[in-house]
C-alpha cells in the first residue's frame, strides 16, 4: 500500500501542491500539515485589503468541503518536528508519525528578527493572519505607527494605516526605500506618493535604541531623533524556515537547496516556495530564493508533478507585484541582471523600465502606474524574458511598437 504524499507547510505553496497532486490524478493518501489553525490561505492580502477592512477575513485557497472532496487530509495547528529519512517518516508535535513515499517541505519563511534589545509587546512582525489581526487593532485615526523597514510589507502596511487615519513613520536604514530589487526611479515614485499621503519617511539612518514599556514604543535613531508610537511593526525581510530540513541533514544554501526539479539532497524529499533556493534557468542557473506569491504557487504545482515522477525543470520567470494607494508595481525578472535600461511610457504616469543585459538580452522589466496600467506589458515582457529574446531597445522604448508584435519576432 502506498504510504502517500506528505506536505509540511499549509500555505500557498503547500496548499497548491496538495490540490495539484489530485489534479494530476494521484489517488494515494495526501496529507497537508500546517502549524496555523486555519485552512491554507493567501498571504498577500494581509498587508493590503485585510488591513483596510473592519473585520479582516481569511482568503482561503481551499475550503474544508473542497479538501474533503479531494481526499486531502489537513492536519492543522501542528508542527513537524523530525524527519526520519531512513524510515520515510515524519514525526509531528502531537506525537503522531506520518509515513511518506515523497515528502514536500513548503515551510515558507519567517520575519527576520530585529537583533536589538528593548523590543516588547508593542513591537510586532507580520506574517500570519493572527499577526494581521493584532496589527489591525492598532490602526485607527489618532494612533501612531512606526514601521521599521522600507520594504514591501512595511510600505503596503503604511498605505493601509494612512487610509485608516493613523499617523505613520517609516524608518529605513538604507539610503532609500526598496533597495532590494526595485530600480531607484520607481522607488522614488513610491516614496513621493507616501510623502504626499502624509507618511514620514526616515531613510539612511540606523536605529540606536528601542524602548517598549508595553504601552508605547520609543525608537531612537542614530542621529538622535526620537519617534514615539503606539505600535512598531518590523518588516526587515524574511528568513527561510529550514530547521527541520537542516536537522534531517539536508543540504542548506540560503534555504533548503534543491535542484531545478525542486528535489533536495534526498531524492524523496522536495522543497518549494519561500523556504528553498533553486537554480534559475533563465539566468543560467543562478541560485536564488524567492519570497513571492506566484513562485510559491508555481513551485507547489511543479513539486507535485515531480513527486509523481515528471522530472520537469522549473522554467518560470520571477514575478511579483505590490499595491500601495492607487499605485501598482509589477516586476518580471530580477532587475540586478540588467546593465542597460530602456524606458517606455504608457501614459497617465505609467511606465516600464526594461532591463537589458550587455548582450542585448531582455532580463527584467519593472513597471509602475495607476491601477493595472502596466500589467499587460509586464506580462508580455515576462514572456520575452522567458524566451531569452533580444528585442531592439528602440522598439521597447516606443509606444508606437506593440510589445506583442515583438513576441512574434
Amino acid at each position: 500500500m502506498a504510504r502517500g504524499m506528505v506536505i509540511i507547510g499549509a500555505g500557498e505553496c503547500g496548499g497548491r501542491a496538495a490540490l495539484a497532486l489530485r489534479d494530476l490524478g494521484y489517488d494515494g493518501p495526501v496529507t497537508l500539515v500546517g502549524d496555523e489553525p486555519h485552512l491554507p490561505y493567501e498571504r498577500p492580502p494581509l498587508s493590503k485589503d485585510a488591513m483596510s477592512s473592519d473585520a479582516p477575513e481569511i482568503k482561503a485557497i481551499a475550503s474544508d468541503e473542497l479538501l474533503a472532496q479531494r481526499s486531502i487530509r489537513h492536519i492543522h495547528s501542528v508542527q513537524a518536528v523530525a524527519i526520519d529519512r531512513e524510515a520515510h517518516k515524519v514525526r509531528l508535535s502531537d506525537g503522531s508519525v506520518l509515513p511518506y513515499d515523497k515528502l514536500l517541505l513548503a515551510t515558507g519563511s519567517t520575519p527576520r528578527k530585529l537583533p536589538m534589545p528593548g523590543l516588547g509587546p508593542r513591537c510586532v512582525y507580520l506574517r500570519t493572519f493572527a499577526d494581521a489581526l493584532a496589527i489591525r487593532a492598532h490602526l485607527s485615526a489618532g494612533n501612531r505607527v512606526a514601521i521599521v523597514g522600507g520594504g514591501f510589507i512595511g510600505l503596503e502596511l503604511a498605505a493601509a494605516a494612512r487610509k485608516l487615519g493613523a499617523s505613520v513613520t517609516v524608518i529605513e536604514a538604507q539610503p532609500r526605500i526598496l533597495m532590494r530589487g526595485v530600480p531607484a526611479e520607481i522607488a522614488k515614485i513610491i516614496h513621493d506618493t507616501h510623502v504626499v499621503e502624509g507618511v514620514d519617511i526616515a531613510c539612511g539612518e540606523g536605529i540606536a535604541s528601542i524602548a517598549d514599556d508595553g504601552k508605547e514604543v520609543r525608537v531612537t535613531l542614530a542621529g538622535g531623533k526620537e519617534i514615539s508610537a503606539d505600535l512598531a511593526v518590523i518588516g526587515i525581510g524574511a528568513v527561510p524556515v529550514t530547521g527541520l530540513a537542516a536537522e534531517a541533514g539536508l543540504a542548506i544554501d540560503n534555504g533548503i537547496a534543491v535542484d531545478a526539479e525542486l528535489r533536495s539532497s534526498d531524492p524523496d524529499i522536495f522543497a518549494a516556495g519561500d523556504c528553498c533556493s533553486f537554480p534559475l534557468a533563465v539566468y543560467g542557473g543562478r541560485r536564488v530564493r524567492l519570497e513571492a506569491w506566484r513562485n510559491a504557487q508555481e513551485q507547489g504545482a511543479l513539486a507535485a508533478k515531480n513527486m509523481l515522477g515528471a522530472a520537469e525543470a522549473h522554467a518560470a520567470v520571477p514575478w511579483f507585484w505590490s499595491d500601495q494607494y492607487g499605485l501598482s508595481l509589477q516586476i518580471a525578472g530580477l532587475s540586478d541582471e540588467g546593465r542597460i535600461t530602456v524606458r517606455r511610457d504608457l501614459g497617465e504616469g505609467a511606465f516600464i523600465l526594461f532591463h537589458l543585459a550587455e548582450d542585448g538580452r531582455l532580463v527584467a522589466a519593472s513597471g509602475i502606474g495607476p491601477g493595472n496600467a502596466v500589467a499587460r506589458d509586464i506580462r508580455l515582457a515576462e514572456m520575452l524574458i522567458g524566451r531569452r529574446a533580444r528585442p531592439a531597445p528602440e522598439a521597447l522604448g516606443s509606444q508606437a511598437v506593440k510589445l506583442k508584435s515583438l513576441l512574434a519576432a
Binding site: 504557487q297 504545482a301 514575478w319 491601477g371 493595472n372 499587460r376 506580462r379 508580455l380
Partner: protein, 104 residues
C-alpha cells in the same frame, strides 16, 4: 428575451485583444479573437474582482492582470490557480459594424 446592447464599434478592438464595456452598474469584457470573432464575458475576474480588460489576450485565453488567473473567454472556463470559478459568458453578434451583446 433581453435586448441586444451596443457595446462598441467592431474596429475599436484589435484582433486578439479585449475592451471594457460598462452598462448600468455592470461591467463586461468584450473580446476579439485572433480569427476575428467577438465574445463577451463578465468584466471582473472571479478571484479578486479585477477588471479583466486590463489583462492580456493570447489565442482564446484572457489572463487576469493581477494574479494571472486564466479563463477561456469563449466558454468562460477557468484554467487553473488561482481561479476556480468560471466566468459568465454572453452572446455577441456583429451587425452593421457594431458589436452587440445580449447581457440578459
Amino acid at each position: 428575451m433581453s435586448d441586444w446592447i451596443e457595446a462598441c464599434a467592431a474596429g475599436e478592438i484589435d484582433e486578439e485583444d479585449v475592451m471594457r464595456f460598462d452598462h448600468g452598474d455592470r461591467t463586461f469584457a468584450i473580446y476579439r479573437s485572433p480569427d476575428d470573432e467577438y465574445f463577451a464575458t463578465d468584466g471582473l475576474c472571479t478571484h479578486e474582482k479585477v477588471h479583466l480588460a486590463d489583462g492580456l489576450v493570447m489565442d482564446d485565453i484572457i489572463e487576469c492582470p493581477k494574479h494571472n488567473g486564466r479563463f477561456n473567454y469563449k466558454t468562460g472556463a477557468a484554467r487553473g490557480a488561482p481561479v476556480c470559478v468560471n466566468l459568465r459568458t454572453y452572446p455577441v453578434k456583429v451587425d452593421a459594424g457594431k458589436v452587440l451583446v445580449q447581457i440578459g
